[in-house]
């Protein structure tokens, strides 16, 4: 029997898959830090946004709490917040990995190293 939580997890795993395979592209919106001592969002440094199937999604992590995923309108007002189910932190990790371009960066470093090794080998063989 599929429960409401199972459905939410299915949706989150689909978002993770879409993000990892590049079907969903997230953009980083940087927040200017506020000076409020009561606002829990004070420690939110980056908010990730995407548009998926006609809906705008916003993902962020406030201090001392689990990541928050929301459906928002054009003005950025939260229309619905996903309950804090398991998998949201994995979604955030995947989004950070993709938006920071970690894969490309690692490929670049490895590619550069291989190129250096090849040129060294060629110079030794001469």
């Amino acid at each position: 029997m599929t429960t409401a939580n199972d459905k939410l997890i299915d949706a989150i795993v689909s978002l993770i898959d879409g993000t990892q395979k590049g079907r969903i592209t997230w953009e980083v919106k940087k927040l200017t830090p506020t000076l409020s001592l009561t606002d829990p969002k004070i420690a939110v440094q980056a908010v990730y946004q995407t548009e998926y199937r006609g809906r705008k999604l916003r993902l962020y992590e406030a201090a001392y709490s689990s990541p928050t995923l929301e459906i928002i309108d054009d003005d950025g007002t939260a229309l619905w917040t996903f309950p804090p189910v398991s998998g949201l932190d994995d979604l955030l990790s995947s989004v950070r990995y993709e938006t920071a371009g970690v894969k490309e960066f690692l490929d670049d470093i490895i590619g550069e190293d291989e190129l250096e090794l090849k040129t060294e080998e060629m110079s030794h063989s001469r």
Binding site: N5, V13, V85, S86, D90, S94
Partner: protein, 149 residues
């Protein structure tokens, strides 16, 4: 009427009452054994669930991270899946029948995919999904158990 009353009176002989008490005693003992087992399981689950769930979460997050580079991470994913099995088995011994079934399903899924290949990406996705469903169910059960005490 009088006949019925005398038959009933005759039945209440010492041996018959003793027999009935023995049968009732066996029933009560079984009930107590069952309850003690359930209390023990519940106590163990409440005490051990947070650590086990943390371990399971680390494993499932690692699997998710490794899925990003699936082709080059097959061996590492196999190792992470193998690490999930004892955690799941341990959780299984501490929960009720309903939860045990969902854990058994994931264990079966992992056992069926012990050796992965380049084409196992969707199988790993399904396992990951089931792992976080189990994790969520166990987390909710743990919250419920806090109120039972």
């Amino acid at each position: 009427m009088c006949f019925g009353r005398s038959v009933l009176f005759e039945w209440f002989s010492l041996s018959n009452v003793g027999n009935a008490a023995s049968i009732l005693g066996v029933g009560l003992s079984l009930y107590v054994i069952y309850n003690v087992r359930e209390i023990r399981k519940s106590y163990l689950f409440t005490a051990r669930a947070p650590a086990l769930l943390r371990s399971l979460h680390t494993r499932s997050s690692n699997i998710n991270d490794l899925r990003k580079e699936f082709a080059t991470s097959i061996e590492k994913i196999e190792a992470e899946l193998a690490r999930c099995l004892p955690i799941l088995e341990s959780l299984k011994r501490k929960v009720g029948r309903q939860e045990r079934k969902s854990i058994s399903d994931v264990v079966q899924l992992i056992t069926a995919n012990k050796t992965l290949s380049a084409g196992s990406e969707s199988a790993v996705r399904d396992i990951y999904k089931e792992l976080i469903k189990v994790e969520e169910a166990m987390r909710n059960l743990h919250k419920d158990k806090q109120w039972e005490r």
